[in-house]
């Protein structure tokens, strides 16, 4: 090892690894509660299954494709099946100011949990109608072609977007814009649920959704603050920013909801919190707490107002992945260009409001557009191929009977 292992950092990132993993079952329940009861197992299964499939693919090739080699555009297979991981001097690019103080294999494990949850986000948009086998193939291919590529461009210090100066503390682009773009691509091919938009399909178990949000919020401390890869003031700043943004977004969503729809709802409170958490993800280790509050306030309001995009454009994004993750991720990534502050993180840059001019904002816009375009196009092609071969969608009869029975021969609630 070329560098010193910091035991505090290692302990913290070990915990963060578990925290981020916990977010995937959290997401499962967040979404699961919002679908109809005949589809709840289908939703839970898709999310839990990602923990299985993506893990194997990450260890096999994903990590290496994301963080191997020195090429700015593509990783390599130097670390396939994690060979050399315990003897490598330092991970490519993680040198000098970016040197890690945790064991490389821990970095692998921590990043793995991000790779797991990112494709799982798509399930919210495709709810109630995506064939399980098609889903499995879709995320499997995505975990090799799309996620590691975007992670390489943005997260790896050798990545070309990273080198251009685009910032993304914990995955505003790599996770949220990436998954949001992919979700949009898939639902354009998948087409709406039978009965949408006329038939009422209210959530079958909002207590699940609330519980899921609690787990997500809790885990997000690992997602954002763990990304400091150190147990220090920056991690603590990220904790505060994350929490404050979630709180602020909840309040602003509730306010807008009350004014526009007449009631402050439970679903609104948790959705607002998630929108704030999404928006702060790229910013968590680069902005001040007061900026985080503003980012949260904006995210809650803007994401709420984007809920109507789907009816306006006629796409059935069942659980608003686009309004919350794509829009939230875009908003956060761009606002980072406004609020970023080197006095919070010297490895960042000053944004528009901190004397940096529009330079960072421009880089953020570039990264956002590039990630969106790449993810959208590749996912669209992959989904199209799957659709033409085995078909993405369940049959109308299967959709009527529900995913639980048709895809898994199970019933969630034995009444």
């Amino acid at each position: 090892m070329n560098y010193q292992i910091d035991s505090g950092a290692t302990a913290w990132v070990l915990v963060s690894t578990a925290l981020v993993l916990f977010m995937t079952p959290g997401l499962a329940f967040f979404y699961g509660g919002m679908v109809r009861s005949k589809n709840v197992l289908g939703m839970l299964m898709q999310n839990i299954f990602a923990m299985g499939l993506i893990t194997i693919l990450w260890v096999a090739v994903g990590f290496s494709l994301a963080f191997g080699g020195t090429n700015g555009w593509f990783g390599n297979l130097d670390f396939a099946f994690l060979k050399h991981i315990n003897t490598v001097g330092e991970l490519p690019g993680y040198t000098g100011a970016f040197a890690l103080v945790i064991p490389p294999i821990l970095f692998v494990a921590y990043q793995m949990m991000f790779a797991v949850i990112t494709p799982a986000l798509i399930t919210g948009a495709t709810a109630d109608r995506l064939k399980f086998s098609a889903y499995a193939i879709l995320i499997g291919v995505w975990a090799i072609l799309v996620y590691p590529t975007v992670a390489h461009w943005v997260f790896s210090p050798n990545g070309w977007l990273f080198k251009k100066g685009a910032l993304d503390f914990a995955g505003g682009a790599v996770v949220h814009i990436n998954a949001g773009a992919a979700a949009l691509a898939v639902i354009l091919i998948l087409k709406p649920r039978k009965g949408w938009p006329r038939e009422a399909m209210p959530p079958h178990n909002l207590p699940f959704t609330v519980m899921g949000t609690g787990i997500l919020w809790f885990g997000w401390f690992g997602f954002n603050a763990g990304s400091a890869l150190a147990a220090n003031g920056l991690a603590a700043q990220a904790v505060v920013n994350t929490h404050v943004a979630a709180a602020a977004a909840m309040l602003s969503w509730l306010l807008v909801e009350k004014l526009k729809a007449g009631h402050a709802t439970t679903l609104g409170a948790v959705s607002g919190a998630v929108a704030g958490l999404v928006a702060i993800t790229p910013c968590a280790g680069f902005v001040s707490a007061s900026s985080a509050m503003l980012i949260g306030l904006l995210a809650g309001a803007v994401c709420y107002l984007c809920l109507t995009l789907k009816s306006r454009f006629g796409f059935d994004d069942s659980l608003d992945v686009i309004a919350v993750h794509l829009v939230g991720g875009l908003l956060g990534s761009l606002l980072l260009g406004v609020f970023s502050d080197v006095s919070i993180n010297s490895l960042g840059a000053d944004g528009l409001f901190n004397g940096g001019g529009a330079s960072l904002l421009g880089k953020q816009a570039l990264a956002s557009i590039v990630v969106f375009a790449f993810s959208f196009v590749v996912t669209y092609v992959v989904a199209l191929i799957i659709n033409k071969t085995i078909g993405l969608r369940v049959s109308p009869e299967q959709e009527l009977v529900g995913l639980d029975q048709s895809q898994h021969a199970e019933t969630a609630y034995q009444a």
Partner: protein, 112 residues
């Protein structure tokens, strides 16, 4: 023998049950149902989208009684279940052809 079927508001179930016990009824069957009459449904809001929910939760009671008891029991249910507001429900009476007590094989009034 007659079957009395009553659809009442769920929160009225305890009052109706107490009234039936006071009237000497020894057995009732209760199920949770949904329905609408003239009450109509209500609206719920999820993420800004309003849903018109046509059905309203209700409770259905089924009681088998001797012909001589019918009027008394119907009155008891009606008195206990009433709130005066729309959606109080309905009671109807149908004929029972045959009734059997499973444990003993008794039939007719002995089985009630």
């Amino acid at each position: 023998m007659q079957l009395i079927t009553a659809i009442v508001k769920p929160f009225k179930l305890d009052d109706v049950k107490d009234a039936l016990k006071a009237a000497g009824i020894q057995g009732i069957t209760v199920s949770e149902v949904r329905g609408f009459g003239r009450q109509g449904g209500h609206t719920e809001t999820y993420r800004g989208a309003e849903y018109k929910i046509d059905f309203v939760p209700k409770v259905r009671l089924e009681i088998v009684v001797d012909n001589s008891e019918v009027d008394r029991v119907v009155e008891a249910i009606k008195a206990a279940a009433t709130t005066g507001k729309i959606g109080d429900g309905k009671i109807w009476v149908t004929n029972v052809e045959r009734i059997v007590r499973i444990r003993t094989g008794e039939e007719g009034s002995d089985a009630i």
